[in-house]
């Protein structure tokens, strides 16, 4: 999917800005970031994480990771799942 990205607000009405793909989402550095990028980013953009912060506590983030595995079938191994939940709670938790 391609989106047309606007680099300046002045281009709003012009619709002439260069086309750009999904812009990379920079997550906070920390242990587990790579597991998040590799696993979560395979099925959805990482802005979902920023958008859902910082109101989830550790249990809340753990439930989200579990939901992705159990309900959405995400192929995440146990080690990565723990690492992801810890990273999210520490960096994007309440």
């Amino acid at each position: 999917m391609r989106v047309v990205a606007f680099t300046s607000i002045a281009a709003l009405a012009g619709l002439v800005a260069a086309a750009a793909d999904e812009r990379p989402i920079e997550l906070k550095p920390g242990a587990g970031r790579e597991a998040v990028e590799d696993n979560c980013g395979a099925c959805h953009s990482l802005d979902y994480i920023l958008m859902n912060s910082p109101f989830l506590n550790a249990a809340g983030w753990n439930a989200e990771v579990t939901k992705m595995i159990k309900a959405f079938g995400a192929p995440i191994n146990e080690t990565d799942a723990k690492s992801i939940a810890n990273y999210l709670a520490k960096n994007y938790g309440s």
Binding site: M1, R2, V3, V4, A5, F6, I9, A10, L12, A13, G14, L15, A17, A19, E22, R23, I25, A42, C43, H44, S45, D47, Y48, I49, L50, M51, N52, S53, P54, F55, L56, G60, E64, A71, F72, G73, A74, P75, Y92
Partner: protein, 413 residues
């Protein structure tokens, strides 16, 4: 209509709003140029951006993949939402490519059949247009519109006010497509699938069902036009379901499969997704074959309204100003919109505008006198069944049906 100048002012000015009639500049509170609704999670600051998908005006990007983009408040200044300002909502990331023409209208077809049907049929785009055509003006609102305002916050796409729009839809009656195959007496639900799918094959495909009675309602359409034009790609080209009165989750985009079922559709997107606690909301129409002891599928929209002329925190001149907005419900029609300037102790009737049908946005306007300092205005809509908006949130874990009365504070100089 929004002019380029207005949008630039809106983005650059931060917090400012001049009230008044048409033609007055509309300036909205904005975070780094993005007009977010007040109360959404702080994580949207810097994450949400104004971006235009192909064929669209800039919308507020909440997520790239799958694409979830809401309409800024400025786009609701008319009761019909233009196609290029209409919000975009997908559940799964593998969506038809807008460039590759994977949904070429020449090869597109809808398969109609299933164990509850007497026959199977394939309906091409040309076939679809040969059915008698009907038009209806109807609001499409995401079940989770205003989820981002939920307190406490709940996980999901953090929509503000803009996961909704109202269009004039044209298409064939779903009933007429179903008549092509005939329903067995055992048929209880009709399930729908679109051409979009998951990025990973173990993820449940987005499939939704309707009870037969709603599917064969004369207002339920398979639409191929929106506001007199082909559907925008991101709103379901070439054809989508239109289910007036019911939340957007049932309005399947890129419709390719209609499955007549003799048992309840049992997929993830029917249960546990899109569920409300039994008994929490007004007794609206029920989808009995999907209910459990504790949860029911969301069905009709609850009565609601939005102030569109002024954002919270807007700067106005003391004196008489006109506030404008929209009201809508699940298809009973709007009976009244009232505004209060004293915290809900007394209410004055707003003037209702053009009636485009019971499923449409109903515009309203309200003249009020503002004094120097802060003036808080609260708005409440009532539908023709006498249902009103709620004073306090009816919390539910998915953040659905948020129809808390909206208040804005105007700063008058």
């Amino acid at each position: 209509m929004i002019t380029r100048r207005r949008l630039i002012e809106a983005a650059g000015a931060g917090v400012a709003c001049a009230g008044g009639g048409p033609g007055a500049p509309l300036l909205y509170a904005a975070t780094a140029g993005v007009p977010l609704s007040p109360g959404v999670p702080a994580g949207l600051d810097g994450s949400a951006v104004l971006e235009a998908l192909p064929g669209k005006q800039p919308l507020i990007k909440l997520s790239y993949r799958p694409p979830n983009y809401e309409s800024p408040l400025q786009y609701f200044d008319t009761p019909i939402t233009p196609n290029d300002r209409f919000y975009v909502r997908y559940h799964l990331a593998d969506i038809p490519n807008v460039d590759a023409k994977t949904l070429d209208a020449k090869t597109y077809k809808i398969v109609v059949g299933g164990e509850g049907a007497n026959a199977q049929a394939e309906i091409t785009f040309d076939d679809l247009k040969k059915f008698p055509a009907y038009e209806i003006v109807a609001v499409n609102q995401c079940s989770g519109n205003r989820r981002g305002l939920s307190q406490p916050h709940v996980p999901g796409v953090q929509w503000g006010y803009g996961a909704m729009g109202c269009a004039r839809w044209k298409g064939a009656r779903l009933k007429d497509l179903l008549d092509r195959v005939g329903l067995k007496k055992e048929a209880i639900e009709i399930a729908f699938n679109g051409a979009d799918g998951p990025a990973f094959d173990q993820t449940p495909d987005f499939i939704k069902s309707l009870p037969v009675w709603k599917a064969i309602d004369e207002s339920t359409l398979v639409a191929y036009e929106m506001n007199g034009e082909p559907l925008p790609h991101f709103n379901g080209y070439p054809a989508r379901l239109v289910v007036p009165g019911w939340t957007g989750t049932y309005w399947m985009k890129h419709l390719i499969d209609i499955n007549v079922m003799t048992r309840p559709q049992g997929g993830f997107w029917m249960n546990p997704a899109y569920r409300i606690p039994v008994g929490e909301f007004p007794a609206v129409v029920r989808f009995m074959t999907q209910e459990t002891a504790t949860t029911a599928p969301i069905t009709e929209m609850v009565v609601n309204s939005l102030i569109t002329s002024h954002a919270d925190g807007a700067e106005v001149k003391a004196g008489t100003i006109t506030m404008r907005g929209l009201a809508w419900d699940g298809g009973y029609g709007i009976r009244a919109v009232e505004a209060s300037t004293d915290g809900g102790q007394s209410w004055s009737a707003a003037t209702l505008g053009d009636d485009l049908g019971r499923f449409a946005f109903r515009p309203w306007s309200f003249d009020l006198t503002v004094r120097s300092g802060k003036n808080t205005v609260t708005v409440n809509a009532t539908n023709k069944r006498g249902e009103t908006q709620v004073a306090a949130l009816l919390f539910n874990p998915a953040g659905y049906h948020n129809n808390v009365r909206q208040s804005v504070t105007l700063n008058a100089a």
